[in-house]
Symmetry: C2
Subunit: 227 residues, 2 copies
């Protein structure tokens, strides 16, 4: 490897950055550490992301927002098992609209959970990537197929996306470290105490809520007051 070709690329940089984030947390992702991981000086990264760290952040968000990529490569948790499906499934037979939405939701959730350390980066970035548009297209087509009137489709898609992202964050929050002095569960919260023994299976809860939301979104509407 000659001096000035370390084989850097955006893809490789983002993958390495995500490995650092997943392993040590977002705060630990520094240009110097990233450079070290890539066997390169920190400033070399600026050649591929001339706008600096913010641009790198955006690339990371774009990466994890695309389940196809985020679920494929960067987690070598288990040894690469030989897949039952040999390669690209030749003819993905058309699934019903609700199954397509459920599948998307599960994939997106898995991608976000896998890289939950990068979640704070998503909040203030507009989802105007190709992956985001692909997801919206899937949502709109499915809800249209479900029989929603056009003017209700974008709202339904927004609700679905909101729920999935919110569920991921809810899970991540609940699994976070306890704060320095957590509030005590005492008599002020009788119902919580009564139900505190029920343990949560995040996967199950997610799917139940998802079913409820989809059912509510595609059922005949009831008007409610303005509050």
């Amino acid at each position: 490897m000659s001096r000035n070709n370390a084989g850097l690329s955006r893809e490789r940089i983002v993958a390495e950055a995500l490995r650092i984030i997943d392993g040590m947390g977002l705060r630990s992702l520094t240009m110097r550490r990233l450079g070290d991981a890539l066997n390169v000086e920190a400033m070399a990264i600026y050649h591929h992301f001339p706008l600096g760290k913010e641009q790198l952040y955006s690339a990371i968000v774009e990466y994890i927002s695309d389940p196809a990529r985020a679920l494929a490569s960067p987690a070598a948790e288990t040894a690469p098992e030989d897949e039952a499906t040999p390669e690209t499934d030749p003819e993905p037979e058309p699934r019903p609209w609700d199954q397509r939405l459920r599948d998307w939701a599960c994939d997106y959730r898995a991608a976000l959970l896998r890289h939950s350390g990068a979640l704070p980066l998503m909040i203030h970035r507009r989802p105007d990537t190709v992956a985001a548009l692909r997801a919206t297209e899937l949502h709109y087509a499915a809800f249209t197929e479900a029989g929603l009137p056009p003017e209700e489709v974008p709202g339904a898609a927004a609700a679905l996306t909101s729920y999935v992202l919110g569920a991921v964050i809810h899970q991540v929050r609940s699994e976070g470290l306890p704060s320095s002095d957590p509030a005590v569960l005492d008599g002020r919260f009788p119902t919580v105490m009564a139900l505190s023994s029920i343990d949560v299976d995040h996967d199950r809860v997610f799917r139940t809520g998802l079913d409820a939301l989809l059912a509510g979104l595609t059922a005949p509407r009831v008007q409610h007051g303005e509050r």
Copy 2:
């Protein structure tokens, strides 16, 4: 105000920190700037938050997670109008369970939207504050009153919280600055193009999705496949 009593307090520090976050963004909240805003040296803050900035962050999250506080003080957007309700409403007549949930959701959403710059701080902090427990108590009681079997109550509450937080983030994301090179809306996304003229009223969309979710959560359940 003598030299060594600038009248600092956790409350005042957090309020000022939130003003900085709301006005200039989370990245701009530095100890020095916060000290300046409080007419104090940066290190003075460490007297009230000895564990440093992380502890300050936690206090900020606790603050905005309590709609009663977050919606009250720190936004002097409009001049303080004389309220129609004179003081603490003397006897808050009991509202039906669904109205209580809807009211909570709207208040929580408003609090988060008002301080959306602080949202990234929430993601990895466990919601174990008094305000969070109060909210959970409200949820559990309401869903129990709605007739949900006890084992489904925590899941329903989680779904509701997920939706509200997700909806706020969805809105904030959609209002963020466009990325450096946004994806083009071309023929690959026909349904999106067809519906792109529909403009979104975030408040309305939020309430519609909320109604759908509540309806789905409290309606008789239908089992779906494992995906």
